[in-house]
């Protein structure tokens, strides 16, 4: 199905989007989808009794990352025997008190692999609204006071859009549009651009009929009209205008369906044949392949581009550092794995949480990386953390922690 002819019949966001504050972490891998927050350093050690500013109980299960919008920490969860109860919770970032909780009922399929759950996609925000997506393809929009703005059931719209192992792509907000990947093995494998004010579709795009758990990356423009969203699938990478759904360029040499590609500036470090660096100059419709490094193989965790280096965790739990210029490995460091969550970076330090809840802090140097800190949470950590205002927000199924000085 080509991009809908409705691409042109839009209501552009009426300048109601709040510019991202440097401190916000508004979607999976941060507001700019880089996994980096360089505004403030973080602590390098913690335990259940030390350097935990607060912790809060969560219901049911959740693999979604927390997001931070102003002084709100928002988390999604799913509960019930059939995982068909969908929760959105909002906590006060300063003290961890629950501001509000809202629940909904899943309208789509809630079957998933036992390791994952229905609250697997991370929510997103435009600074005024929260967009909560679930594996059932339910999509709720609430304001920061917890009032429902609109609700979509994307499996109601597209009955075969589902995956018996569960779905996990997180939505992104860019170009005044919420972009949602609903990709799966059926013919109803789609990406949808949604008007954040009304929940109506701006465009719907046919995508490869193959299960896909990756999330989009964003190349921010000088203004939202110039934002580019990069959709990854088994077929490769599509760069689209999020407002119109128009495809700007396409890379068709395949890509991974679990770890999401890393972005820095106008270059995407695609998880394709190892890592393939793709440069997309502003104002050009041509993509240039800069290099390919087949020995760089991220496992489940998504890689991070930071400074002049690319960091990825391979299947053996080794943190590999490669040069962004050519993909050459500069150093490697064995960490305690296994890892499901993706690492995040702040002020030359990388934070990686393994499944046992051990957070390892790696000081990133040019010649080597060094573990300089460690913290244990004694819980299963599968979700990628969020960073905001000098604090690290980590969640398990049952608990949300703020790691910061009290």
């Amino acid at each position: 199905m080509p991009c809908s002819p409705w691409c042109g019949a839009l209501v552009v966001g009426l300048a109601l989007v709040v510019p991202a504050k440097a401190a916000d972490w508004r979607q999976f891998r941060g507001t700019a989808t880089t996994s980096v927050a360089d505004d403030a350093p973080l602590l390098t050690s913690w335990s259940e009794s030390e350097n935990i500013a607060w912790k809060a109980d969560l219901p049911g299960r959740g693999l979604s990352s927390p997001i931070v919008v102003r002084d709100n920490v928002v988390v999604t969860c799913s509960s019930g025997y059939h995982q068909d109860r969908l929760h959105v919770l909002c906590f006060n970032a300063a003290n961890g008190t629950l501001r509000w909780e809202r629940q909904f009922w899943a309208t789509g399929r809630t079957i998933s692999h036992p390791k994952t759950c229905v609250a697997s996609s991370s929510p997103a925000s435009d600074g005024q609204r929260i967009f909560a997506l679930y594996s059932s393809n339910d999509l709720a929009c609430l304001d920061l006071n917890g009032e429902l703005q609109w609700y979509r059931g994307l499996t109601v719209d597209f009955p075969n859009a589902s995956n018996s192992l569960g779905m996990a792509s997180s939505p992104v907000f860019a170009g005044n549009t919420l972009v949602v990947q609903v990709e799966n093995d059926s013919q109803q494998s789609l990406a949808v651009g949604i008007n954040p004010l009304t929940g109506e579709s701006r465009w719907t795009m046919q995508r490869p009929s193959r299960a896909n758990w990756t999330s989009p990356a964003v190349m921010p423009g000088s203004n939202p009209d110039d934002d580019v969203v990069l959709l990854q699938s088994s077929a490769g990478i599509s760069a689209i205008n999020p407002l119109t759904g128009a495809e700007l360029w396409k890379y068709t040499d395949g890509a991974a369906t679990i770890p999401s590609s890393a972005v820095q500036g106008r270059t995407l470090y695609a998880v394709s044949h190892g890592i393939t660096a793709l440069h997309f100059p502003a104002g050009s419709a041509n993509v240039e392949q800069l290099w390919r490094a087949e020995r760089l193989n991220p496992a489940t965790a998504s890689p991070v581009a930071y400074g002049e280096r690319l960091y990825l965790l391979n299947g053996a739990g080794v943190l590999v550092c490669a040069d962004l210029k050519d993909g050459a490995v500069t150093w490697q460091l064995r960490l305690e794995g296994p890892f499901t969550s993706s690492p995040v970076v702040a002020k030359d330090h990388l934070y990686a949480f393994n499944e046992a809840g051990i957070g390892q802090v790696v000081k990133l140097g040019d010649e080597r990386g060094e573990v300089v800190g460690r913290g244990e949470l004694n819980d299963l950590i599968l979700a990628t953390p969020a960073i905001a205002n000098g604090a690290l927000y980590v969640r398990s199924d049952k608990t949300l922690w703020k790691i910061a000085a009290k």
């Binding site: 019930g80 025997y81 059939h82 509000w100 809202r102 629940q103 909904f104 009922w105 309208t107 399929r109 079957i111 998933s112 692999h113 339910d138 709720a140 609430l142 917890g146 009032e147 429902l148 703005q149 609109w150 609700y151 979509r152 059931g153 109601v156 719209d157 009955p159 075969n160 995956n163 018996s164 192992l165 799966n184 093995d185 059926s186 013919q187 949604i194 004010l197 009304t198 929940g199 109506e200 579709s201 009929s209 299960a211």
Partner: protein, 385 residues
Amino acid sequence: MLFRVLMTCGVMCGAIVAQAATPAELVQTIKSVGNEGAGHSAAVRAVKELSQSDAAALPEILKAFENASPLQSNWLRGAFEAIADRARKENKLSAAMLEGFARDTARNPSARRMAYEWLLTLDAGASDRLIPGMLRDPSPEFRRDAVDGRRREADWLREKGFNKEAIAAYRQALSGAVDDDQVKAIVKPLRELGETVDLQQHFGFLATWRLIGPFDNTDGKGFDTVYPPEREVNFAAKYAGKSAEVAWIEHRTDNDYGIVDLAKALEPFKGAVTYAATEYHSASDQVVDIRLGTPNAWKLWVNGQLLFGRDEYHRNMQIDQYRVRAPLKQGQNEILLKVCQNEQSEDWAQRWQYQVRICDAAGAAIPPATAKTSSKSQGPNSQLE
């Protein structure tokens, strides 16, 4: 001059008051929401306005769940929770209203459960009053709580050595249990106490089938290929199959969960399609859940109508993996299932099997009125008598 200003303000205020919609009107707007964002522009305004209402609007919203689609129900829930949250903080949330609604089994089951959960925020003891009588409640969550309570009582009785009473309590708990984890937790002690339990009957699994195959599914193309059984289900017919002539065979599964293992019933063919046919006698015209579990691609027809299909392989198999709402007519209904195996060679890609059960929306089995078999019936694309 002052008089004119006051008159103007009065007219404006009157206009504003006249324009405010009632909760009933706002609810109607919200219930116009449809697929793919239909009705959203008006509903966004309506839910925003409705969410600002006071607690007096809550009964109207609860009533509105009747005949609301699952999508519309979430819109209503959003408004309900915003109002209820505010009302609770202002001590204006009525426990009596919530309990009255929760007790009324004629009301929407999900809305009743929502009302009950808000009631618990005011009166935690309400569960003791309401739950025990809910073993057969239309709400699966109420049933689940009631089953859990009765099962715990049975466990206690057994622990104390009152086996006869324990068996009776377990049987009562089982009568309401629709979820596999609860059924297992009850059946295990029952069997240990010497009782027999027919799980196929309990869940409503269809155990008796006729099978024909293999037809070709090389490169997965068989999913869309219309093989003869899709045109006519003739149990006396023979057809050219994937590599040899194929004919219908009778098959009955003894598996507790109704699993039909096609790799054993036929052979572990790869790149193959098998059709499975059965009949179900419905006591009345009704809409039921047909719940299917399979790791293979599949299509489902009822009385010749294709209801759903999924071209997905080896991504899991679970009880109730797929739920299809199916209209049944009073009397005999023909069910035809197409189950496709692909050519993956991994160990985890060798299962070729399925399970099918018929139940209500809460998951409770709907037993057939009577079982009938016939030697020939007309297939998916023809009119049935």
